[in-house]
Symmetry: C2
Subunit: 310 residues, 2 copies
């Protein structure tokens, strides 16, 4: 049995685990991280924690996988962009550092690509050879599995699904474009759309309302919440529709925090999807929720590593 | 030196050639086809013509490739949809028929996918390992080359780029969706957009005006024609932008009849592209015209065959 490590970078902590080929986590830990620390300081505390994990598990690592916000160059491994919350990671190769410390192949992927790798090996991939994963959390990310393999793109930057342009006259995005998918479908956007609808009608809006709160309100019968979710589902359907037209994949998968809504988001996306897709490529495609929940980040990063050594 | 045949189905004729591995056409022919003929009648006249081509060239075929409008199922080879002008082809396997007659592997691809295969082997692929090809003619088609290989999708239906939804409130398309790319960028659409602009201003519109006529008018300084081309280029840029965000390919290629406009279409697409794409994936990407011109259809079909035997 081969073992790899998976490290999942969040904004203020790193989850790590030692994982076997079947997806069983044999040891794990969560390391707090002060995002203002230097790259060397962050990495040395991670290396120490990972050494403890490995010692505890009593196995030998044959590779290390890492998932981070932002994008690592496929050739050099350097994190080049999109990880603004942990500025000192950018311009450095996390995989390169871990590889030197542990003497095994080490690779870093964007966290949504990493999630897709995890789903391929341990989740929906057991029944689908190709799918698009849209991760809907604070932002919107994407991972692609084509012809049974994770697709990373020429530079390693594929899957910028949150910035697909869904409306040339739509909302301005902080990327400088208009109508980006992320403006309509992130958890942030869901809460904002609901608040806008409520304020426009003079209804009070709970301070710090979350996307989860909007789904709960809809479940209680709040029609504004239901309208918000329907509008969001339409945009998700539009994005999936375009991706199906272009890529003819077997499945559309929703991951990230918003996927916890389950059928409350899957059902309206399924209903609207036909409006945005060529019937031939719609046929037989199910919209599904990602199967990995807890430890999805660790398992995704581990899957990225297993992909390189098996 | 291996030789294959390439057959390119148009609306009323089939171009065919015997092609060697370097892309040299050693014999070719064009066979008229009455689109109302039965499948057997169409195929037997093609088989006879191809036998004559092969005899004339004095070589042995090792495979046959076919490009058609519409989509052939990747598993069965059956043309399942999108070839309305030649109704009797649908429901039949052109590759299967030719394979039985000639006793060699025979495969059919959508014509835009076929064009992408040709560009990969004999055209832009000599400097690009990944690209998106948008073919703009009577309609809009698309072909994808990812990581050095033609990408066909789970069922063989990938590349329905003409039906990417660019505007959820846009023009209705005959596919039943709104805002499809094809409504804004086909040769038909270019002529229609120009005519609409002219009529709205009370200017006379030449009967049967073509897209080429619009480009010629723009070259003569007609501001309505220039505005039309700029609007079309914006939509092409939007489509390329979304495709770059999703696929992180190295190049954006324009093929089909409209590509004859050359710099007159490339320059405005290049100019607008940054409005629709994440800067990281825009970087280093050139918009280019497809390199294969005459015989592109034969060479594309032949490339699809060579891909299977080399």
């Amino acid at each position: 049995m081969q073992h790899v490590a998976g490290l999942d970078f969040g904004g203020t902590s790193v989850k790590m685990g030692v994982v076997d080929q079947s997806g069983a986590i044999v040891a794990k830990d969560t390391v707090s991280m002060d995002p203002s620390m230097s790259f060397a300081a962050i990495m040395s505390s991670l290396v120490a924690a990972l050494r403890r994990c490995v010692a505890r598990s009593g196995v030998t690592l044959c590779a290390i996988g890492v998932g981070t916000p932002g994008f690592s160059d496929r050739g050099t491994g350097v994190l080049v962009e999109g990880c603004r919350n942990i500025p000192h990671l950018q311009g450095n190769s996390i995989g390169g550092y871990l590889g030197r410390e542990f003497g095994v192949p080490s690779v870093a992927d964007n966290d949504a690509t990493s999630a897709a790798a995890g789903e391929l090996l341990f989740g929906v991939g057991r029944r689908l050879r190709s799918f698009v994963l849209i991760t809907i959390g604070t932002g919107v990310g994407g991972g692609l599995v084509l012809d049974g393999k994770v697709y990373r793109g020429a530079g390693g930057f594929a899957g910028e699904i949150g910035h697909m342009g869904l409306d040339p006259n739509g909302l301005w995005c902080n990327c400088g474009s208009r109508g980006c998918f992320e403006q309509y479908a992130s958890a942030t956007a869901i809460a904002r759309l609901y608040a806008e609808k409520a304020r426009k009608r003079g209804f009070p809006v709970e301070e710090g309302l979350s996307a989860r709160g909007v789904f709960e309100a809809a479940a209680r019968g709040d029609p504004l919440a239901a309208d918000t979710i329907d509008a969001v589902a339409r945009r998700i359907a539009q994005a999936f529709g375009t991706l199906l037209n272009v890529l003819n994949v077997e499945g559309c998968v929703i991951g990230g925090g918003v996927s916890q809504a389950g059928e409350a988001i899957v059902a309206p996306v399924e209903r609207h999807l036909a409006d945005y897709v060529w019937p031939l490529v719609r046929s037989g495609v199910r919209v599904a929720i990602a199967e990995l929940r807890n430890d999805a980040g660790i398992l995704g990063a581990a899957a990225g590593a297993l992909e390189r050594v098996t």
